[in-house]
């Protein structure tokens, strides 16, 4: 009996090792278009993935942040507003875990776009960041034109946001954390209100960090 149990344990352990050694790669989301090129008489097909387009916003320090600041960086994006009474506090509580895990890592950033730029001025965002204990340049609270923010959310990050006077706070928005890789491609979306999904996000960022750099498809 003891021997049998021992054998089972060995098999389980071995399987566990085998499972762990498989390298996980994250899927690439969004639209994709194949392009066929003829190079040196050879026909090759490449895939162009959906990427986050150029943007320009202001962070909580009043500095301008654009897509160039994120070249070669992995980042997590979400949408919020400082007076949000519903899901934002729980999202920020979970995002703080992401922040605390990667705040000393230069190639991981967090971008929180306000969907209420009229109220959330740079000063308001700075105060908000201070109250969350955010320092340095790893978590940016971004403010820009409302139309730009909404377009970016829906067309590019694929997160739904819209004003709605019938809900508390005046906006409905999805609490997704969107994971963007070093090539500006969407690699994951996680429900920011669920601690388990945010744990997965943290694990996936680590996976992305160890991913070999691929040549950019232009």
């Amino acid at each position: 009996m003891k021997k049998l149990a021992g054998a089972i344990a060995v098999i389980l352990l071995w399987n566990a090792c085998k499972f762990n050694s498989e390298k996980k790669t994250l899927p690439i989301y969004g639209n994709r278009t194949p392009i066929t090129k003829v190079v040196n008489g050879q026909t090759t097909t490449d895939t162009i993935y959906q990427t986050i387009p150029a943007f320009k916003f202001i962070d909580q320090y009043g500095d301008s942040i654009n897509n160039k600041n994120l070249d070669g960086k992995i980042y997590v994006a979400d949408f919020f507003f400082t007076t949000c009474p519903s899901i934002c506090p729980i999202m920020q509580r979970n995002m703080l875990d992401v922040y605390n895990t990667f705040k000393n890592t230069n190639d991981v950033k967090i971008l929180s776009y306000t969907i209420d730029p009229k109220h959330d001025s740079v000063a308001v965002l700075k105060k908000y960041a201070d109250k969350l204990g955010i320092t340095g340049n790893s978590w940016w609270f971004l403010q820009g034109k409302k139309d730009d923010t909404y377009r970016l959310a829906e067309k590019n990050y694929l997160v739904a946001v819209k004003p709605d006077s019938t809900v508390a706070g005046g906006y409905i928005h999805q609490g997704y954390f969107v994971l963007i890789d070093k090539k500006s491609r969407i690699r994951g979306a996680y429900d920011g209100t669920k601690p388990d999904e945010v744990k997965q996000l943290i694990a996936d960022i680590k996976t992305l960090k160890s991913e070999p750099d691929q040549p950019a498809v232009k």
């Binding site: 009474p85 899901i87 506090p89 509580r93 908000y128 109250k131 969350l132």
Partner: protein, 143 residues
């Protein structure tokens, strides 16, 4: 010998049954408290937890924790008004200043009584039942 054993077993059973009956019977107040408390925990989960946290811990300097028993005691009479109409302006909780606005919840008096009973008897607080009647009286005095 056999009889003796049967006799002592039945005595033990009798004693156990009687003590069981006594302990399972709770006073009306205890039952009332439990009813308020368990309903209150559901109200808390749906209306308060997102901001104030699973353990009433709040969120850093943004949202105050609900663990300041002293504040809850001193402000017992205005808790119902705060839950119903929200809160503006500065408050000092555990020597930290909080300035964010708390939105109104629009809860009914009985729900306020439930959730206040839950909060003032969780997270290290212990101040007994806050009844529906108490809440209605306090609401009448809201500023």
């Amino acid at each position: 010998m056999k009889l003796k054993i049967i006799g002592s077993i039945s005595i033990i059973l009798f004693v156990l049954t009687v003590t069981g009956m006594f302990t399972s019977c709770q006073s009306d107040e205890e039952i009332e408290f439990k009813r308020y408390y368990s309903s209150g925990s559901l109200v808390y989960q749906t209306k308060c937890q997102n901001c104030h946290g699973t353990h009433g811990e709040g969120l850093l300097r943004l949202i105050p924790p609900l663990t300041d028993s002293n504040y809850l005691k001193i402000n017992k009479k205005s808790l119902a008004c705060i839950v119903k109409y929200g809160l503006r302006g500065e408050i000092n909780i555990k020597n930290k200043i909080f300035q964010e606005k708390m939105p109104p919840t629009g809860l009914a008096p009985i729900e306020i009584a439930n959730v206040l009973t839950y909060v003032t008897n969780s997270f290290g607080n212990k101040s007994g039942t806050i009844t529906n009647q108490q809440v209605e009286e306090d609401l009448a005095g809201c500023k």
